[in-house]
Symmetry: C2
Subunit: 410 residues, 2 copies
Amino acid sequence: MFGDISPRYHPLTPETVPAYIRTRKELEAVFRPEDALEAVEVGDGNLNLVFKVWAKADPRRTVVLKQALPYVRLVGDSWPLPTDRARIEAQALEIHGRLVPQHTPRVYFYDADMYLVCMQNLIDHIIMRKGLIQGIKYPHFAEHIGLFMARTLGMTSDLVLDYRAKKVEVARFINPELCKITEDLIFTEPYRQTERNRFHAELEPQVVALQADTGLHLEVAQLKEKFMTQAQALVHGDLHTGSIMVNQTDTYVIDPEFAYYGPMGFDVGAVIGNLLLNYAAHEVRTTDPEKRADFRTYLTDTIIQVWQVFVREFQPIWDRADVIDMPRLYQQDYMRRVLQDTVGFGACKMMRRVIGLAGVEDIRGIESVKDRTTAASLALNIAVSMVKARHHITRIEEVVEMATAARPSM
Amino acid sequence: MFGDISPRYHPLTPETVPAYIRTRKELEAVFRPEDALEAVEVGDGNLNLVFKVWAKADPRRTVVLKQALPYVRLVGDSWPLPTDRARIEAQALEIHGRLVPQHTPRVYFYDADMYLVCMQNLIDHIIMRKGLIQGIKYPHFAEHIGLFMARTLGMTSDLVLDYRAKKVEVARFINPELCKITEDLIFTEPYRQTERNRFHAELEPQVVALQADTGLHLEVAQLKEKFMTQAQALVHGDLHTGSIMVNQTDTYVIDPEFAYYGPMGFDVGAVIGNLLLNYAAHEVRTTDPEKRADFRTYLTDTIIQVWQVFVREFQPIWDRADVIDMPRLYQQDYMRRVLQDTVGFGACKMMRRVIGLAGVEDIRGIESVKDRTTAASLALNIAVSMVKARHHITRIEEVVEMATAARPSM
């Protein structure tokens, strides 16, 4: 897991990709021997090289190569990071592909020496975050992601897996280094003064107040503990709108390299928290009040629907549960706890994206400092009200009520 | 983990033990080449062979060999069980020996092919359960076990271990087969009609009522879920008074073959639940009211003291915690949650010992059926009140108040 780098490992470049492709017989159905291949590096993440490769003669015959770097790309080689995450990603994609093939990119192969996954290039889709920033609605998204989460979370939990299979999976998906990134960047650094935080000076009074709030620290500490100890299901671990590719008909979930056995609410919260970050951004991004209200209603309706679909698609799992061992009261209690976790983790995801190292374009991409501060302030206020209310929340509508009631402080 | 049996494996017998001993140079400091050795099999557990071996010339030169059988001894070879538990036990003993050497038997060696641990023979100590049944008080027990649990649980948790070390330990102590025994025997079977339950007919009305109580099922389901998902610390996993050897000055914890990463309250609850089973047994075992009251006061004082020492010895861990990341409010909240888990798991341990397959001598050893029913009924009533009150308990004294207020139903 933390072993030496394979002697066969070398980072690819756009120049070396075509020759590498030729060595892989798994791609013989995609590329022909006579094809001239083109490749470009497009990684905008922090941890990996990502190459798109296509046949010059037919750009629709194409794949993506995702290769792990042995350090965090954004920070550089001062932050070494095991390449084991490529194995985690390949194995998680394999499970997702089995449970929800319609929402998972096809995997062609995993190269264990190169820490490289080769998969379907989603050429007809865009990163959902970019679409939401432009105010594009995705009418099927809630149905798709609700199903994706119900299947990938429910079917990898103790509710479905055999006692032994579950525990073997927990061990297989032990993912310390990427969990550590989450532990630090989501649950620790936003709540203290550190060099890596990235909020701008105008927001400082609000951040200082938040960092001095010991009641908030208690909630975050509880959520961090849950993240570190609760092996409930195989979570994606980074399910924000930048890990989702969409168009008007399809939804694909990519990049499960943070996958590990954790609390289901961490994934559901990531989706909802990122929709709310976008909601906050449209406070200033959309100036026409009618258009703004309309898109925000789309976002809040989507939040409600995501949860409702998740619950609906989870139902088949409960339907086969033993009602002595898991009485109805327990089933309701279980889903309520997942909702409360969702609210708590969603809030933490929002706060880290405003205060911490890795921001989101929804808010950090706003050019005017004043506008950016307004959106950031609103996002923080929504998040703080969520994290403090989470123990008492019983309906997803309460989250939407908190979001629509919140106002920016500055 | 679930591999084939080693070709070198063979179950020892008292006759083959001396020759085996001669092959182990780790024992050269214990036995001399000229020693005649004697061995006897004394296992009263369900999973293993246990041999005591000594030099005929000096019975104080002695060791114990504990060898895993590939099936559950009580049930026979219809219930196969991986011998991996011998590795788990040896590794847990190594950790306990490092953290609390004064309460851990010395390990001489672990033989991975024979699934065998060779350890100190505690010839000056008896199984605590047997002492308590006789009404013997152990004045240092609370201090010792409180320290043992604070160290072994606190020091193996995320509060102390490095993020990576903790997760590697979680994987190393994945222990599916023995966890499954707990999942079935403690959290499932007592709450339904199964062939393996072992209560006697007189108790049936009370058991039937308990098995029909869906509110109780909810609580047990939540606790089972916690047992199956919460990787909080390296728990002993079977810390009843039959896993503790004592005399008037010493306390040793043996048999950690059920060890895995689970909730701390599972161990603390095992200790307290078993003290309460003994408390219930003395309802009929001690007929002199004054003697009974006196011994029960010893037991309830011990319960309070066990928790107080646990909290006191846990304090050094909190003293070095980062107070931004883990504010005082969180520390108090954490200990309160461990207490509430303790009460819930303690209650489950009590119920299973009355209803389920493996009883305890405290109660099942009572000859008169009427008396046995009285003690069993009292134990169930204490347990049910505990498991239902657990969410609101904030002080250990409340547990004692519930125990002293409870009466047998029959």
